[in-house]
Amino acid sequence: MEPILQLEHLNHVYSPGTPFEHRALIDIDLSIEKGSFVGMIGHTGSGKTTLIQHLNGLLKPTSGRILYNGEDIWISKQRIHQLRFQVGLVFQYPEYQLFEETVYRDIAFGPKNMGLDKDEVDRRVRDALRFVELPERILDHSPFELSGGQKRRVAIAGVIAMEPEVLILDEPIAGLDPESREAILRNIQDYHATRNNTVILVTHNMDVAARMSDQLLVMSHGSLYLSGTPEEIFSQTEALEQTGLTVPEVTQICDHLRRRGVPMPRGLYTVEAARDALLAMRGGSSHA
């Protein structure tokens, strides 16, 4: 596996030299593998959003380097413009960025900025729409007539239509009903599976992070606090709790059981794994 994005000693300071000076990112070293699904968790204000805005060059680091495919992204202005299409970023509450008269034109905004021809734009719009499971007939509607969940999906489609190598989503399921939440997560997973691209998912939701990622990053007070596989991360319940985060519900249950003397292994984070562990303990008899 080769890294697609690398951060070296990344620092970011907001409003330096004023009373509002704030060190948002402190010496971050990080490598993201090509084709991986990375979950990023952390408290509000821990620097997650600031960090991901560096990955497509929206923010310039105060110091440190960002490498995309081994190449410094800040070598030229054209490079940054190109990078925006290679590293697609879906912001928090992306539905507030919709502006066009029709859903079609809004999704086409990104691909058009890439300078693609009409047929290619059309193909991408329809492909993206399929990924977010919206019917083609809404293409002619105004995005402002749609429901909240649909708007969110149109906005995500607008970024997917650029077919980025790395897709970053900042809290894509915040403020949605459970059904829309599951749908969007499923869309992201399908997209990752079909395109085999890299996905970075920023979320508050431990269960989602646990279930979907190969690699987890835990941010705390502007630093990268923990990094590893979900299993490694969620076997460190105490460390997570120190930063005010929790582990997935099923991991909490396992921890409780262990405290009561049931020899549950550490770092279980899916219901299936917990079930298998419990069944194994009963002497391997299967009830499945």
Partner: protein
């Protein structure tokens, strides 16, 4: 990108200037403007400048940020200076070019005009840098209250002003977010001719307006829910109260204004 907007910017602090009553600061600001226009010569402007410098030092606001605030005004200042330089009447002609002549009086006028504008703007900055927008509107409302008798909707005006001020940072932040989001989709705001650039603003303005209206709606509902019904019978959490330092400030301000007035109008200094 938009973080250099200084409009209504407030520099939190605990200095004596910060703790003055907002009414005191507002009225002293008015007095200062009056004095600026009463002054005539080097002496009165020197006094005014020293007075302002003392206030700036006392307020502990970094001078660099004051200068940064002046930046967008340089063009206005320079144009005013040049116009005064070229079109002032005077006896002592320094040199003539075609039909335009530069006089010594013109030089003085231009210089004083520039100093006047800079002092005025800096004094306005001192007011907004050391007074939080909420206190400022409170002070304004209290000062304008006598005009209620002649039908001026003072409370409503103050409420509108504080809401507007309150939402400036929110909307700036929102604009920043929208710009970032559109940039992430490859929007380009920096190249092309004027028409292209104007068109490039649509993806920012449409979401911004929609969100402004949405916020206005939500705020109106929230105010209704808390039974807001205008200023009548409304009490305040923070009562404005003059302290001794305010009276001292008033005395200093009036003395300064009168002194500069006499110096300027009587002696032409």
């Amino acid at each position: 990108m938009l973080s250099n907007i200084t409009l209504g910017q407030y520099f939190p602090g605990e200095s004596l200037i910060h703790r003055l009553d907002p009414r005191t600061k507002l009225l002293l600001f008015v007095l200062y403007i009056v004095a600026l226009f009463l002054g005539k010569g080097l002496v009165s402007y020197a006094i005014m400048a020293i007075f302002l410098i003392v206030i700036i030092v006392m307020s502990k606001v970094p001078p660099s940020s004051l200068l940064r605030g002046l930046k967008p005004l340089w063009i206005v200042i320079i144009i005013t200076g040049v116009l005064n330089l070229l079109f002032s009447q005077g006896q002592t002609v320094l040199f003539t070019w075609r039909r335009i002549s530069v006089t010594l009086e013109g030089c003085y006028n231009a210089g004083f005009m520039i100093v006047r504008i800079i002092l005025l703007v800096l004094c306005a900055f001192m007011l907004t840098y050391t007074t939080s927008p909420i206190l400022l509107t409170d002070g304004l409302e209290r000062l304008l209250r006598p005009f209620q008798k002649i039908g001026l909707p003072v409370h409503e005006l103050a409420m509108m002003m504080s809401i507007a001020l309150r939402f400036i940072p929110t909307l700036v932040e929102e604009t920043d977010k929208i710009i970032s989001a559109q940039k992430a989709r490859g929007a380009d705001f920096e190249s092309g001719n004027i028409l292209r650039r104007a068109k490039a603003l649509i993806p920012i303005l449409v979401p911004l307006f929609i969100s402004a209206f949405r916020r206005a709606d939500e705020l109106a509902i929230a105010m209704e829910c808390r039974c807001y019904h205008g200023g009548e019978g409304r009490t305040r959490l923070h009562q404005l109260k003059y302290a001794r330092k305010d009276y001292v400030a008033y005395v200093i301000g009036i003395v300064l204004c009168v002194a500069v007035g006499i110096l300027g109008r009587r002696f032409g200094l």
